[in-house]
């Protein structure tokens, strides 16, 4: 396999890891108000992701860094072209990250209320915008012969792009519900399951519409495979929730996220950012990539480091594998 193709796959894997992992912690953030009716329950929710959310977010930094290293032209066009969307995502991630760390550090209702809003905002905004961004990457945007984005501020807000946002946000919400169901006990666990059954039709319908639309416009025959997998996985996750199999429900939404990324990346290849101005200006795995030497160096780094990272990150999930509930939440103890 060409190294450029390998790196295209690897970047797909990194985004899959990011959406799988941060997907559920975005979901937990979005659920803070609907599921966390009182302070103790909110603390239960936050503590389900407390030890891991920061490590989950590093998948984004790795995806960004890997794109810079392996496909500098893709990185440059994407990040400068989607400027304001990325700015909003950054603001959201800043507020959200600080909120997790700071909300419990002062014993005051108004203090906590503000940070809770920051968590909700910081979880909803990227959940919507990542969907909008990826829909536009796949569908293509106006790019000139220098590889520069030439659209306007509203270019990304086309119907297909918006539908992308309507898919990712409820999908992450559902994934978060399954995570909460898997990680908690008692009332909060039961309510998460009930809410999951109510919410599930939204990502299923929106996701199916989005992926089928994408297939018809630009899909490869083989990418019907992952589309089917995504659909089956989502439906199976509903059945698993009904059957009380919390773990399988979580696997179901996780698999759906992964399959959706495969379908999108599959229909994108060998482009990395198609140009709607002229197909000749499209960025491809070839013309956007680094040199063979750089790719070789980075391949060694990735091949050695990725398994190590996976092992210790998995171990951290193992350490915090126990379910938690309101009875585990200690009284507030801050100066």
């Amino acid at each position: 396999m060409e190294l450029t193709t390998f790196w295209f796959l690897l970047i797909g894997v990194l985004w899959t890891g990011y959406f799988f992992l941060e997907g559920f912690d975005f979901g937990v953030g979005m659920l803070l108000h609907p599921l966390g009716r009182d302070e103790t329950r909110r603390r239960v929710l936050i503590n389900t992701i407390g030890p891991v959310w920061d490590g989950n977010e590093v998948w984004l930094l790795t995806a960004g860094g890997a794109t810079f290293a392996a496909f500098p032209n893709w990185y440059a066009t994407l990040f400068s072209g989607f400027y304001l969307a990325l700015f909003l995502i950054l603001v959201a991630l800043i507020l959200r990250g600080v909120a997790f760390e700071y909300r419990g550090k002062v014993d005051s209702d108004s203090w906590r209320r503000r940070w809770d809003l920051a968590i909700a905002f910081g979880s909803w905004v990227p959940s919507v915008l990542w969907g909008v961004a990826f829909a536009n990457i796949v569908a293509g945007v106006p790019i000139d012969e220098h590889g520069d984005f030439t659209g306007t501020r509203l270019t990304l807000l086309n119907p297909f792009g918006l539908l992308g946002g309507v898919v990712t946000a409820p999908l992450f919400l559902l994934h978060g519900l399954h995570f909460v169901a898997l990680k908690t006990e008692g009332e909060i666990h039961d309510e998460a399951k009930a809410m999951s059954l109510k919410v599930a039709p939204v990502p299923i319908v929106a996701g199916a519409t989005f992926l089928i639309w994408n297939q018809i416009e630009r899909g490869e025959p083989w990418t019907w495979g992952p589309v089917l997998v995504a659909a089956i996985a989502l439906v199976a996750s509903v059945l698993a929730t009904r059957a009380g199999r919390d773990g399988w429900a979580f696997v179901g939404t996780g698999l759906a996220i992964a399959a959706a990324v495969v379908a999108l990346f599959g229909s994108l290849y060998p482009d990395v950012m198609p140009s709607t101005t002229d197909p000749a200006f499209s960025l491809t795995v070839e013309n956007a990539s680094s040199t063979a030497y750089t790719l070789k160096v980075m391949t060694w780094v990735a091949v050695i480091m990725t398994p190590i990272v996976l092992v210790y990150q998995a171990w951290s999930y193992w350490v915090f594998r126990k379910r938690i509930g309101t009875r585990h939440i200690p009284p507030v103890h801050v100066p």
Binding site: N47, G50, P51, V52, W53, D54, G55, V58, L60, L61, T62, G64, G65, A66, T67, F68, A69, P72, N73, Y75, A76, L78, F79, S80, Y83, L86, F87, L90, V91, I94, G97, V98, F100, Y102, R103, G104, K105, V106, H146, G147, D148, T150, S290, T291, T294, V297, M298, V301, A302, M305, V309, S316, V319, F320, I324, H328, I329, P330, H333, P335
Partner: protein
């Protein structure tokens, strides 16, 4: 204002801000890891208090460092797309390595440390803080390697067809002489920052004269003592590594150092300017206080060595790279260099004062309010010295974003004005510049208030509630693990959110 100016302001503001958090994270991470090691080894409860107390302050600061760090990685592409295309083949690699090698390590193990107090064996828990601290120090290495490449590009060739720099030797990039000189300076500076932070806070609390638990009092005395010696050691290391770096810079970036010394004309036996009056950018002979021949000695090792001046170097550059002004902003370069050195010296001087006040077991005075205020004020000095150091080295590199290597390929160079994104309009750049600045300013206020609240409350406030702290030396064998599993069922989230 144009996109270049706006993007430069944004990069400057967000980077200097980010680097308020970074040195404290690196330095305090290592310091807290060391406190916990002492506790683990000796069972001395003072060190547990210091671990918990400074550990909390570390976390308050760490959160800000993490979130402002994401902006750093994104804005190369967002605002500096032309730069990203030109250097991507080289520059992206250390950034990706940083994420894979360092960020995963620090974030995962810090999560384990925060939540693992009662879940992991003491030995394993200690290992998690070390892993996190080492992660933060490693991340600095990759960033310094990336930055050093902009100061002194190595390991590359120039591709005529694509107009890009292409990596041919990753080893050369990761062992760039500029990196090897800058990294110890940054790490020593980080430890100095943390050391003054620990010492300043501890001394302030002891000089407040308020009654506090005996355990806190004992712990803070220890912290002051440790801080004094650590500050001495790191102050010395910062100076030695800085001097080494400056010598190297005279060779690699002569323009930057000539500007730093306000040396306009080439001189043999040049004197070292200590202070200048007026605008050193406009008139070169305004220097009032000069140590004769010292500059030549520092730059070349000989008192009569020749040091090239700004005017001369500018003419050389024009000959080599075409017409233009290749001088950095002289006033900023000159003064930021002095601010860095001066503030670093003040920080170290604080340790001398503290050492004098506590000599032969004396107590810090509680009846001198000015000393108490000075103890807090001095905490700011290493932070400002770090900031001025970066302002110096980045502003002194201008007008280049990738400065040409005098011994390398002249084609591998890029002017800052040619580095921005063409897809970004001034309106968009203003939006993000104002947006980031306002959010950062608000968060700075919140962070400082939170730090002040936790400092005032003292170590006792962050010790586990109700439980008398365990004085016994930790034991790796069965008893610890069994007590942990039986007692922690209700307490799995101690130290949690």
């Amino acid at each position: 204002m144009d996109v270049v100016t706006l993007s430069r302001w944004q990069f400057g503001i967000t980077t200097v801000y980010h680097f308020f958090m970074v040195p404290l994270t690196i330095g305090l991470g290592l310091t807290v890891a060391w406190f916990q090691t002492k506790w683990y080894r000796t069972g001395d409860e003072s060190y547990l208090r210091l671990t918990k107390f400074f550990g909390k302050l570390f976390l308050i600061n760490f959160a800000m460092g993490v979130v402002t760090g994401i902006v750093q990685e994104f804005q190369f592409g967002m605002n500096w797309a032309s730069y990203s295309r030109f250097v991507g083949d080289v520059f992206g690699a250390p950034l990706a390595m940083e994420a894979l090698v360092a960020f995963f390590l620090e974030s995962t193990f810090l999560g384990l440390w925060i939540f693992g107090w009662d879940r992991l064996s003491p030995k394993l828990h200690l290992a998690t803080i070390w892993a996190a601290a080492i992660g933060t120090a490693l991340s600095a290495y990759f960033i310094i390697a990336a930055n050093s490449w902009m100061q002194h590009p190595v390991g590359v060739v120039y591709n005529q067809a694509t107009g890009r720099a292409e990596l041919v030797d990753i080893g050369a990039v990761l062992t760039n002489s500029t990196t090897l000189a800058a990294y110890p300076h940054v790490i020593a500076g980080s430890l100095l920052t943390a050391s003054v932070f620990v010492g300043g806070i501890s001394a302030w609390m002891l000089m407040r004269g308020k009654p506090m638990p005996e355990g806190d009092d004992k712990a803070l005395h220890k912290a002051v003592r440790i801080s004094i010696y650590l500050t001495f050691a790191m102050g010395l290391l910062v100076a030695v590594s800085g001097d080494y770096q400056a010598r190297l810079m005279f060779k690699q970036q002569p323009m930057k150092m000539a500007a730093a010394e306000a040396l306009c004309e080439t001189e043999s036996g040049a004197g070292l300017s200590v202070f200048a009056v007026g605008d050193p950018g406009k008139e070169c002979d305004v220097r009032t206080l000069t140590v004769p021949k010292l500059l030549s000695f520092m730059a070349t090792g000989s008192f009569d060595g020749t040091v090239h001046g700004v005017t001369d170097l500018n003419a050389q550059y024009q000959e080599k790279f075409g017409p233009g002004d290749y001088r950095p902003n002289l006033a900023i370069t000159y003064w930021s260099f002095r601010a860095m050195v001066g503030l670093g010296a003040v920080a170290s001087f604080g340790a001398v004062v503290a050492w004098w006040l506590t000599r032969k077991g004396k107590e810090l005075p509680t009846d001198k309010p000015w000393l108490r205020h000075a103890s807090v004020a001095i905490i700011a000095t290493p932070f400002l010295a770090n900031a001025f150091g970066w302002i110096f080295t980045e502003m002194g590199r201008q007008p280049w974003v990738v400065a040409p290597n005098p011994d390398g390929l002249p084609e591998v160079r890029l002017m800052t004005r040619d580095a921005v994104s063409s897809a970004v309009s001034p309106g968009m750049a203003i939006t993000t510049l104002v947006g980031f600045t306002l959010i950062y300013a608000a968060l700075m206020v919140v962070e400082l208030k939170l730090l002040a609240r936790y400092v005032k409350a003292g170590p006792q406030a962050v010790m586990p509630p109700g439980t008398p702290p365990d004085d016994r030396p930790p034991d790796d064998d069965a008893p610890t693990t069994t007590t942990t599993t039986t007692t922690n069922e209700a307490d799995v989230l101690a130290f949690a959110y």
